[in-house]
């Protein structure tokens, strides 16, 4: 029998419910074993980088939230940071704390969505409801604060748009108080669950060498034994004044990635707690009024921001050239994680595919840009 008859080619996606967007994987199967995998991306390509070249700096600001719609604050910050550095403006300390608070809450929301959908991919439907219940509380806070549940457009050049009222701070602190119990609940259901462990332990192992070769960052890299977190190694905003721990695991498998993300939920809560204390006690302004966003005309220059987003290193490069950016380039975490998939999936069983893919926390708008 020829090779052609022995293997079968099938498409997973682009409309597959567990590809978290529109990813197409072309798989070559020999029975239940994956022999090769080719990721096909671009179904969600919106030309976000090209759009920048025909818009003013301010017109581009609402668009950047859409790059990773589950982590809008990270993208907003990455872009605002570029413009602020190109203009050489300082942002008030209170605004920095508010930004950190928003980003960490966003990280929690994003990880909760990941946890829920990852469990759903593995066939467990109840964690999804628990996770979405708690994520909903964060989205309510964001809605009260910014007017939007997902695309916030809240950060602006020189600070943030609105101050946080005390009622919202109360909401946040009661959320921070309740959350550790909820995370313990998830851990009780999931961490030692025999079905979960047998599907995740030693599945989809990313070696340290592979992780660095493929430029994997964020929780996926930390699960492979590299303790690299850009909040610690290149501190931005007020992260060097805040106390928090980063975790890493040595396994490199899907289970280690789960453990690292669960730990990140706790450390983000710790950061949020410290931010609330500062914001309450501060009566500083929240916006540097010297920036005139509508009339921005930035002379030639280039800046690259570095942000540890929920899915790894997000960095925005703005090459300024007068009234519009000359070139904007986005670097996102998921883009590189998708590239690693063929390496992880070859010689795996089809049934493990979604456990491995889900554990990478890939989101497609970030890949397709």
């Amino acid at each position: 029998m020829t090779n052609l008859l022995k293997t079968m080619e099938i498409n997973v996606g682009p409309q597959h419910p567990s590809t978290h967007g529109v990813l197409r994987l072309v798989l070559e199967l020999d029975g239940e074993i994956i022999k090769s995998c080719k990721p096909v991306v671009g179904y969600l390509h919106r030309g976000i980088e090209k759009m920048a070249e025909s818009r003013s700096y301010l017109q581009y600001l609402p668009i950047v939230d859409r790059i990773d719609y589950l982590g809008g604050f990270f993208n907003s910050y990455a872009y605002c940071d570029c413009i602020e550095n190109l203009l050489n403006v300082e942002i008030p300390v209170k605004a920095q704390y508010i930004r950190v608070l928003c980003m960490e809450l966003n990280r929690i929301a994003s990880h909760l969505l990941w946890l829920g959908t990852f469990m759903l991919d593995l066939g467990a439907s109840s964690p999804l409801f628990y996770c979405f219940r708690d994520r909903e509380r964060i989205l309510h806070i964001f809605e009260a604060l910014t007017g939007q549940r997902m695309m916030y457009n809240y950060f602006t050049f020189g600070g943030v748009r609105f101050d946080i009222p005390n009622e919202i701070l109360e909401d946040i602190s009661s959320f921070v108080e309740d959350m550790p119990e909820c995370i313990k609940d998830y851990e009780n259901i999931i961490t030692t669950n025999p079905i979960f462990t047998s599907r995740c332990v030693n599945k989809g192992i990313i070696t340290k060498r592979n992780a660095l070769q493929y430029s994997i960052t964020g929780a996926n890299l930390r699960a492979s034994g590299v303790g690299l977190d850009f909040r610690k190694s290149c501190p931005y905003l007020t992260y060097d004044n805040l106390e928090f721990d980063i975790s890493y695991a040595d396994g490199g498998d899907a289970y280690s990635r789960y453990k690292v993300r669960i730990f990140e939920l706790y450390s983000s809560l710790k950061i949020v707690e410290q931010c609330i204390d500062f914001i309450r006690s501060s009566s500083e302004p929240i916006l540097n009024k010297s920036v005139k966003p509508v009339m921005l005309n930035i002379p030639e220059g280039e800046y690259t921001s570095i942000v540890e987003a929920s899915r790894g290193l997000t960095s925005c490069t703005v090459k300024a050239g007068g009234k519009t950016p000359y070139r904007v380039k986005w670097r996102t975490g998921s883009y590189y994680a998708v590239q690693l998939l063929p390496e992880l999936l070859v010689n795996c069983e089809v049934a493990d595919m979604m456990a491995i893919f889900g554990s990478l926390d890939v989101i497609l708008p970030e890949v397709d840009k």
């Binding site: 025909s54 818009r55 493929y214 430029s215 960095s315 090459k319 009234k323 519009t324 670097r331 883009y335």
Partner: protein, 142 residues
């Protein structure tokens, strides 16, 4: 930090600046040298940034060392083609496909190069400055 004298000794033609290293036409040899263990081990390629300057396309390779926590920017100006660095960093494959797709730069040595975002039948390379120019009415801060 990087040893500039040693680098200059091996590659006399390069320009070393505070925040970047400029190489004419092809950066493969310099990047391969920077990656080697006996130099600073730049073990991660965070991204490749391409910019169209009409006469040439500028490629900027952003390297990062997890050992010394240094970022390095290697810049080169190319016309139509340059050497692929997939042999050095596997993460470069998608970046090179993206640049091939959006800027039309061919990477020699990357056998698997294809359009990443656009369909294979697409005509033109969208991120070139000559591609679309009719959107200027959107800038309203004149």
């Amino acid at each position: 930090m990087i040893n500039i004298d040693l680098l200059k000794e091996y590659f006399p033609d390069i320009t070393v600046n505070d925040d970047y290293i400029f190489v004419e036409h092809d950066a493969f040899d310099v990047i391969s040298f920077l990656k080697s263990k006996n130099y600073v081990d730049f073990d991660v390629l965070t991204q490749i940034i391409a910019t169209d300057y009409v006469d040439f396309v500028q490629l900027s390779y952003r390297l990062y060392s997890t050992v010394s926590n240094d970022f390095l920017n290697v810049i080169t100006n190319v016309q139509n083609e340059t050497s692929s660095i997939v042999k050095l960093y596997k993460s470069a494959h998608f970046d090179e496909c993206e640049i091939y797709d959006l800027f039309g730069i061919n990477f020699i040595g990357n056998d698997n190069i294809h359009r990443l975002y656009m369909p294979e039948s697409w005509v033109g390379h969208p991120l070139l400055k000559s591609y679309v120019q009719n959107d200027e009415r959107l800038v309203w801060n004149d």
